[in-house]
Symmetry: C3
Subunit: 313 residues, 3 copies
């Protein structure tokens, strides 16, 4: 793999899952893999899990890591071509991407959706700008439309916890006070399509349809209770509407996940999670919750991806 | 030692002082002690000495260090149980503490007192929240009511500079334009009680009594001049009132430390210090000032504590 | 070299250029040079190239690096002597500089000009304050009046790309929407005076004269077109007026660099650069642009300087 921008960049999911499983038993087995190499992590948005787990993965690989927050340590970048840059943007992505490429061997980029401009968000201006102009591989640490490292960690979690050959996995929308991106839901849906041996479906209120180019033929239900029946894994996540873009149509508390709805299924969420809004305390605090395992697997997801990128340098 | 939250977590102060003394001669003697391990430093408040000295201590121990500023790199945490999280707090301490525990072997936390809510400050919501839910040891880098790494550095400084078997040490309040926490004064008072061979007393204006559960039987005087007589060490620090909580009752300039008041004593302060408000330039710039030694000893205080924590992992 | 505050601190430019040239072929040849040592990078202003390239240089030298942003991680420093510190400044440079010296072996400082107070800017309060009170060497990562690491990187770039024994180098002012410091222009002019084998001149609109103590006998022209004729290297940079201080007298678009004006010369700029304000897209996107090489050479400029500083510790 050169860049890792989406689940599509995965050649063999099975191979990555096996690597991750082996690494968890010996996280620093390849501690010289990154020797002499530098990973630059560029944050256009805040982060807890991604920030720490990616640094931890780098450390496990002996990869030197430099982090930079563009917001308060750098300045606003221009992404449009041909602009007369006499306003607030101090540097063009063309220079920024090439410059960072001088100091790093791999760069990670985190840049959320605006939720206000669908066209720009879908164009993935920031991460695609870095990909286009960088001369080094680019790692997606959550972009406007995807969060593949999260989805890979989720996939590792499901594969480790699945007792069936073909588990039933349901992605369920849940309410949230703010308009959130679709990135996590998109990447999870893409990852489920890579993982053939799964009975995957999505449930959400009417109007919350995700991008059909991503969900393709995945079964979609508007009846959450029905959809969750007999589920083995329930992945819960809020997102705002895709059409029209970025709206909060519903804050319906009936969509919050409770022990009754969950049944015997395992509960999954990417975190951070709003307790008693997205999911009841009693679910999060039960043995059925996998959220901490998911967070732990963020390290190994980043580590296998970085290791693959290092192999191809 | 598992956690290091207050002076109470010290088994043998004498042993720590000896370790520190030995380390100062060979700071990197145990440079493999932390090999393969990660220290996460979580800052809810700004910091200069703590930030740099704790990182330096980690480096001296070969311990990988990751820092994170919750304010501008993360988000607001919820500390109350059972809340419906539909307001500004994006993540609960239950998740945050467990998640950080996935990526680190030890975590340091810095979270100042609010100075507005005595009950919450005394409950030590942040550091106790991390202690309660983390699955790794927690290091106090200054909490609402204590700053034990500072107090340990102060203790090292006194023990190195004391020419008497039983020195006279006085903690003196001094004026300051803002309402400051009692954390440093509290921990210094606790540390002095651990260090038996000392004649310790406190002097402050009426109304500035510290928590009596901390000061216990320590002699307290409201006559600064009288209290400082024949002192060997004068530790100066402003704090706001404990009852009622967080008020600035006095800015009395007569309480500023001058060469006359100091006499032959050594001057101590945790820094940062307001020159010519807390203490006269002529004291700080004299040979009697130990403030830079105190700052230097922050590294060794952190290092002996981290080494003890590493031994118990 | 002890401190590196300006081009004046360079003993032998020729020696540094040779070191840099050798290093580029084997960047980690001296990866043990900084073993056990710590570099502290203090940022009073934002930074991309300086932040990453200096950390990269430290990594290449095996030098442990700690970064700190004074703005959002620390607090405002007082630089005046004798002040009663009862206002917004929490710590005096006397303490801050000595304290950082306890934790680091070398410190880098970045502190831009205010552009409002010429006297204070020229006094270089921040970097000179650190130099005065620190007990360790100080590295200029751009101060009020100079950016010598940039100038050294520029010098490396010219020496690598020059096909003539005595190239013609022109520093040309260009328009910009904001009032910018003279630091880069100053240091470039100083560096050109160190580099004897060069035909160096400056061109700018009337009123944009730099400090004559820096420009000395350098030929100055107000006719850009005439000045750029037959140039081998055109270094472009905006600066605001020196007298009166910090004003934007002109935004004359005719001073923007175009392919026609550039002719056969190589184009140089320190970045970040405003496209189509300072320079046309067609220049930046052409093979004549050296800006990315300049950025790359920032690593090697910092590395040779740090290596010299390490040798003198």
């Amino acid at each position: 793999m050169k860049h890792f921008l989406s689940a599509k960049d995965i050649d063999s999911l099975e191979a990555l899952l096996q690597m991750a499983s082996a690494l968890k038993k010996a996280p620093q087995k390849f501690k010289n893999a990154g020797e002499g190499k530098t990973l630059g992590l560029l944050f256009f948005n805040n982060s807890l899990r991604t920030r720490l787990s990616t640094q931890k993965a780098a450390f496990n690989l002996g990869l030197h890591c430099m982090t930079m927050n563009f917001g308060n340590e750098g300045w606003a970048l221009e992404f449009e071509d041909g602009t007369i840059m006499d306003q607030g943007k101090a540097e063009h992505i063309k220079e920024a991407a090439q410059v960072v490429s001088q100091y790093c061997d791999i760069m990670g980029v985190r840049a959320f959706a605006s939720m206000t401009d669908k066209q720009k968000d879908e164009a993935e201006l920031v991460i695609n700008g870095f990909k286009k102009y960088a001369t080094i591989p680019v790692l997606n640490m959550e972009s406007s439309t995807g969060h593949p490292l999260q989805a890979l960690a989720d996939m590792i979690t499901i594969s480790e916890n699945s007792e069936k050959k073909r588990p039933k996995v349901v992605l369920s929308w849940a309410p949230h006070p703010k308009a959130l991106p679709q990135a996590v839901a998109n990447s999870f849906a893409e990852m489920m399509q890579l993982y053939k041996e799964v009975d995957f479906s999505i449930t959400h209120p009417k109007g919350y349809e995700l991008n059909p180019e991503i969900t393709k033929n995945i079964p979609i239900s508007h009846d959450q209770e029905e959809a969750l029946k007999e589920a083995d894994f329930v992945y819960v996540k809020n997102w705002s509407t895709y059409t029209p873009y970025g709206e909060v149509l519903s804050k319906d508390k009936n969509w919050m996940i409770t022990p009754e709805k969950l049944g015997h299924a395992k509960f999954m969420h990417c975190l951070p999670v709003r307790r008693n809004v997205v999911v009841a305390d009693s679910v999060l605090d039960s043995d059925q919750s996998l959220v901490i395992e998911q967070a732990n697997n963020r390290t190994f997801a980043a580590q296998v991806v970085l290791q693959k990128m290092l192999e191809n340098l």
